[in-house]
């Protein structure tokens, strides 16, 4: 249960952060195209 809670909490903050980083990297790639 504790592990599930740990996983869930990190997922809640990790998903938006991963989404933002992905968008930024996608845009940054344009610099070298």
């Amino acid at each position: 249960m504790a592990r599930l809670k740990l996983f869930a909490l990190w997922l809640i903050v990790g998903i938006p952060l991963a989404w933002g980083v992905t968008k930024t990297v996608q845009n940054a790639i344009k610099l070298f195209q």
């Binding site: 504790a2 740990l6 909490l9 952060l17 933002g20 940054a28 610099l31």
Partner: protein, 465 residues
């Protein structure tokens, strides 16, 4: 006095038992400390939105004209004040409410930050709806700025207490969120404006209301899950070193004493110089790369360069702060200043050589150290002044950020304009700026060099806990 509330009775379980009170946030035995950083990240990822406020700048100048600015629409200059006011109030709130944040505990302060930041969006949204710019300033600038300041310092001392063995890594994790928040907010703002755009509205008002709700809920989530360790808690298997490390105190200094010490103002100089050098470049990154590589970098590619710098800024916050746990805080700042001076000195040559990958890499490393400077400073303060009032002392030190926020961009843009007016080609107009940045970093290096341990006479006599 409560076991964990050095300022007063705010944490006394017998007198205050509300959900937001510190006493209700004390973790039970066996609590996994890695459950705490997500709470801090939730707050910092939210308030990091401030760095992406410029996404709204142009749409805010087209509220009446919808597709183009119409007579009566706000000018870019008027809208630009909103961000400056917010950063000013960030510094003021962090400095003024630092002691309150320490006594009230992280949950109450995070909840207040959520109300201010989320509420700031609603008031600003009302200003947009009524087309009253004063309400925009009051909402996002004043109220939102207070939310930024209180939210920024809320989780710092809590994380330091949970990770006495790795304080740099712990605060780096949270402060990384502030850098990451912009990366979420920029595409989110564009997504929301596209979603709410109609023939009668460009979607800014609706986006502000939606963001107010989203950020309020996300920050309240952080407040709900945050926990403070019990007064006698220590990480399993960890015992404090019996041989004290150089520049790492086991004593505490009261905030009212700390800010009058030479060490506080030297650290203020360290942060101010490091931030000035980074923020100056960050504010001019887009025109700089376009002008130094004339004809090779489009406006869209320059925007990508700014995005890439944000990535280095965010990564540097976690990496450098974690590295400082091994290198030591003073040595880490020596690396920032020495490497920074070397890179700034090399940039004009890299520009003349026309090597864009090297240019991007050099500024990537510079921006990683800019972020690293923000993330390492709380642990540096803890090393020098102890854990007791580290959040409050950190709040007062953040005035260096507000000063650098004005100094850096003004310095870079003023020197550039002066050079161009004196006939220097645009591609070379940044060379002098880079050498001035080297000078600023040298001042920071000297400040860092002067930092010594606090005189034991200034240590707080009452035990913290």
């Amino acid at each position: 006095m409560s076991a964990t509330a050095p300022f007063g009775s705010a944490g006394n379980a017998s007198t205050s038992t509300g959900f937001l009170d510190r006493a209700r946030t004390v973790a039970p035995p066996g609590y996994n400390r890695f459950l705490v950083p997500p709470a801090a990240l939730a707050v910092h990822l939210s308030i990091g939105q401030a760095y992406a406020f410029s996404t709204f700048n142009l749409p805010l100048t087209k509220l009446l004209g919808i597709t183009e600015s119409a007579p009566g629409d706000w000018s870019l200059k008027e809208v630009g004040w909103t961000f400056s006011i917010a950063i000013l109030f960030l510094g003021l709130a962090a400095a003024l409410f630092g002691r309150w944040v320490e006594s009230a505990g992280p949950r109450k302060s995070m909840a207040v930050a959520a109300c201010c930041f989320g509420g700031g969006f609603f008031v600003a949204g009302l200003g947009i709806h009524l087309h009253e710019i004063d309400l925009l300033y009051l909402g996002y600038g004043v109220l939102g700025g207070c939310g930024l300041g209180i939210g920024y310092i809320s989780p710092v001392s809590t994380l330091i207490k949970w990770f006495p063995d790795r304080p740099g890594m712990a605060t780096g994790m949270a402060i990384m969120g502030f850098g990451g928040g912009a990366m979420i907010a920029a595409p989110l703002s564009i997504l929301l404006m596209d979603r709410f755009k109609t023939a009668e509205s460009n979607g800014v008002f609706e986006s502000f209301i939606a963001m107010g709700v989203i950020y309020f809920l996300f920050m309240i989530f952080g407040a709900a899950v945050v926990r403070v360790p019990a007064s006698d808690w220590k990480p399993g298997g960890w015992t404090p070193s019996l041989t004290p490390k150089k520049l790492v105190t086991t004593a505490n200094v009261h905030v009212d004493v700390a800010w009058r010490t030479r060490q506080f103002w030297l650290l203020w100089g360290v942060l101010c110089m490091n931030v000035t050098a980074g923020i100056g470049v960050l504010s001019q990154a887009s025109p700089m790369i376009q002008e130094m590589f004339t004809g090779r970098v489009s406006a869209a590619a320059a925007a990508s360069f700014v995005g890439l710098l944000s990535l280095f800024n965010m990564g540097g916050r976690f990496v450098w702060a974690s590295v400082s746990d091994y290198l030591g805080r003073k040595n880490t700042y020596f690396v920032f200043f020495l490497l920074g001076i070397a890179l700034y000195a090399l940039v004009p040559g890299i520009g003349r050589a026309g090597s864009m990958p090297l240019f991007v890499l050099a500024f990537g490393v510079i921006l990683s150290m800019y972020g690293g400077g923000f993330a390492t400073i709380p642990a540096y303060l803890r090393d020098i002044f102890g854990t007791m009032h580290v959040g409050a002392i950190h709040g007062r030190l953040l005035t260096a950020w507000a000063a650098a926020g004005v100094l850096g961009p003004v310095l870079v843009s003023y020197i550039r304009d002066f050079q161009i007016h004196n006939g220097v080609p645009k591609a070379q107009a940044y060379s002098v700026t880079m050498y001035i940045m080297c000078g600023l970093l040298l001042i920071g290096l000297l400040c860092n060099l002067g930092i010594r341990e606090i005189d034991p006479k200034l240590h707080h006599r009452d035990p913290e806990q």
